[in-house]
């Protein structure tokens, strides 16, 4: 088992390196670079001539190493990441990419994990409830809802929710994590007063982020529900469930002790692969809702070819996916005797 986990970790590291290489190459594919944008900025806004601007752009390239061959740029990027913890420099923000990402990463993860948990818990519970009532009204309603939810584009749902919040509920701030009055309130638990303000801030936070969590989670609810329902139906028809019933267990005990744990296993395995959906959903929802997460950062950086940001964001998404898969694999080894003992 230890050997298996060590192997999986090793493979994961290799995959992350591969992702780093691919993200670096992919963002180099569009023609031009940040210096080109800088050049046209100088010509249009600064009144510089073509050759002056070109010289400035060339200086810029030398300063940030954009004139070096690509493999070298990549190696330098990876080297600095490993040795200095630096993810490169953002030309547009004039700041270290690591700092920019560090600011947004916890919130992004919070949103993605909340969305993931919501979709998993709701999906699984509904799946368990409808499976023994196959083709009943509840089952059909759930299936219908699942289809609709997974078919509606996320950005559309985001717009609809925003419209509803602003024009129907007249909520004043939608595109932020907090209302202005809470932004400076610290997360502190020193005194009773502090705790009550922290509580109020938490509620304010939830009020702002629930649309993103719901939107990012919806598609996942549908997927998890369908998968869980299918698993449950398979397990309920399995011989060992009949054995369990023939022992004299109640239907609830048969479900809890036998059918549900077996049906959960494929779901655990597939959690790693459903994380991309959550991230994608978080990305879309955050962009439309204008929340400053990694998703919005990635979008802006792609627009102005701020390559180190783009590559780092892609890399982070990649690492999250690989980590999700790794955690799912390990959870399965711990839970399933058939994997554990082989």
């Amino acid at each position: 088992m230890i050997g298996y986990i060590a192997r999986r970790v090793g493979v994961s590291i290799a995959v992350v390196l591969g992702i780093a290489l691919v993200s670096f190459i992919v963002i180099q594919l569009p023609p031009g670079d940040y210096a080109d944008g800088y050049k046209s900025f100088l010509i249009e806004q600064g009144g510089a001539t073509e050759s002056e601007a070109e010289a400035q752009a060339e200086l810029f390239r030398q300063r940030y190493g954009l004139d070096k061959p690509l493999p070298l740029q990549f190696l330098v990027w990876i080297r600095d990441m490993v040795t200095k913890g630096s993810f490169g420099f953002s030309f547009a923000y004039k700041r270290d990419v690591g700092e920019l990402i560090a600011e947004r990463f916890p919130r992004t993860l919070l949103l993605a994990v909340l969305a993931h948990l919501t979709s998993t818990v709701v999906g699984i519970v509904v799946g368990i409830l409808v499976a023994p009532r196959q083709y009943s009204l509840a089952d059909n309603l759930a299936a219908f809802a699942a289809f609709v939810l997974s078919a509606l584009p996320r950005f559309w749902i985001a717009l609809a929710i925003m419209f509803f919040l602003v024009f129907t509920l007249e909520q004043e701030h939608v595109t932020a994590f907090h209302s202005p009055q809470f932004v400076v309130v610290p997360w502190a638990f020193g005194s009773l007063e502090e705790i009550s303000r922290t509580w109020a801030k938490l509620l304010d936070l939830l009020q702002h982020i629930w649309p993103v969590v719901v939107i990012a989670g919806l598609g996942g609810v549908a997927r998890n529900m369908r998968v869980m329902r299918g698993n449950m139906l398979d397990e309920l028809n399995a011989q060992y469930v009949t054995t369990a019933r023939s022992k004299g267990l109640t239907e609830g005990q048969v479900m809890r002790r036998h059918a549900v744990p077996n049906a959960l296993h494929p779901i655990i395995m597939y959690q790693g692969t459903s994380l991309p959906y959550m991230l994608q959903g978080e990305l879309q929802a955050s962009i439309v809702m204008g929340l400053p997460t990694i998703g919005t950062l990635l979008l802006t950086s792609l627009r102005n070819e701020d390559i180190y940001i783009s590559a780092s964001c892609l890399l982070i998404y990649g690492v999250l996916l690989v980590a999700g898969n790794l955690i799912a694999d390990i959870a399965l080894v711990v839970l399933d005797p058939r994997v554990r003992f082989s």
Partner: protein, 348 residues
């Protein structure tokens, strides 16, 4: 020993065993499946009885309703689409009371007290009849805890003892092993241990050896016989193997198209079969030492669909003896000689 000699030997022991009471009586049982494409009359009027501490062999072609009949006894028929539409299943309980299982709510306490404790069941597929996620000891002790007033450690000890009783080596180690670590034969032994752990008065074994190698099959049958004597259980042995029946059964019920068409002591089934279908079955299997007619004669024709509405005898189309009346009226299942019943116009 030839098949018929074995049957003769068993019949002889039966004469001496005396106690002739029944533990389970099935009367006019009908279990149908209501599907979109029609009604499947899987069990369509079964009458059969199981004697206390006796073995009833149930034979018949695949699909004739053997499993559904005895799943009905455990109320394990999935509903919908399945439903017991008519009949009685009378169980004479340990406390002396008689209960009609058909009348019980499948979710009731009363039925759950019967399952596992008074009637236990083992299945054809030892590979899938155990929960892959639980150690086998826990699966046995789960049943013990349910029906007997025991502490967890005591129940686990009972599980270990049961593994010992079914001749699994190193039971103290095996109790904590998972099903995938055991061979098919060992899993079937575990199923037997599980089934007998609460001393049921009836053990229903639905093709318990069909999925096993021939040598393992013989061992499992030996084990069942040995434990039947120890545990005083009646056994319902569902099989399509007539050799197994001749070795194991005291009585035999031959099923065709959802009905019992012949019921008799094992000796009579092999030596004086009454129903042409039983005769066909006997002629279609090789019997060692049967000199007079060594040719195998398969039963010709197709089994009608259980959805068809059949007038007359369901076997008429395939029956070499079919007469005019056979096409018109269904023969009644009735006793033609003491202890020997059949549903066939030939004997009226």
């Amino acid at each position: 020993m030839t098949l018929s000699q074995q049957a003769l030997a068993r019949a002889a022991t039966n004469e001496n065993s005396g106690a002739n009471d029944t533990i389970l009586e099935i009367r006019g049982l009908k279990t149908y499946f209501f599907l979109e494409r029609g009604v499947v009359k899987a069990v369509d009027g079964v009458d059969v009885a199981v004697g206390r501490r006796k073995t009833l062999g149930v034979v018949g072609e695949s699909g004739c309703g053997k499993s559904v009949t005895f799943r009905s006894v455990m109320r394990l028929i999935q509903s919908p689409p399945g439903k017991i539409v008519e009949g009685e299943i009378l169980l004479h309980r340990k406390d002396g009371a008689t209960v009609d299982i058909v009348k019980l709510d499948p979710r009731s306490r009363q039925l759950r007290d019967i399952r596992g404790a008074e009637i236990a069941m083992i299945f054809q597929e030892p590979m899938t009849s155990l929960n892959p996620l639980h150690p086998v000891g826990r699966q046995i002790s789960e049943s013990v805890l349910l029906h007997q007033n025991m502490s967890r450690p005591a129940a686990m000890e009972r599980a270990e003892e049961m593994l010992n009783r079914v001749h699994i080596a190193d039971p103290d180690r095996r109790v904590s092993e998972y099903p995938h670590q055991l061979s098919g034969g060992m899993r079937q032994r575990v199923m037997i241990a599980l089934a007998l752990s609460c001393n049921p008065s009836i053990l229903i074994a639905d093709e318990p050896t069909t999925a096993l190698d021939v040598t393992v099959q013989a061992q499992i049958l030996d084990l069942m016989r040995e434990l039947q004597d120890d545990f005083d259980s009646a056994i319902v042995l569902i099989t399509h193997n007539l050799g197994v029946v001749s070795q194991m059964a005291d009585h035999v019920a031959v099923m065709y198209m959802g009905r019992v068409v012949e019921y008799a002591p094992v000796y009579d089934i092999f030596h004086r079969p009454k129903h042409p279908y039983t005769i066909g079955l006997l002629n279609s299997v090789p019997v060692l030492g049967r000199k007079e007619n060594n040719r195998l004669v398969p039963i010709t024709g197709m089994v009608p669909s259980p959805m068809d509405d059949i007038r007359g005898c369901a076997f008429a189309e395939r029956c070499p003896e079919a007469m005019q009346i056979c096409w018109e009226q269904s023969p009644e299942f009735k006793e033609h000689e003491p202890g020997h019943s059949a549903a066939c116009w030939l004997h009226d």
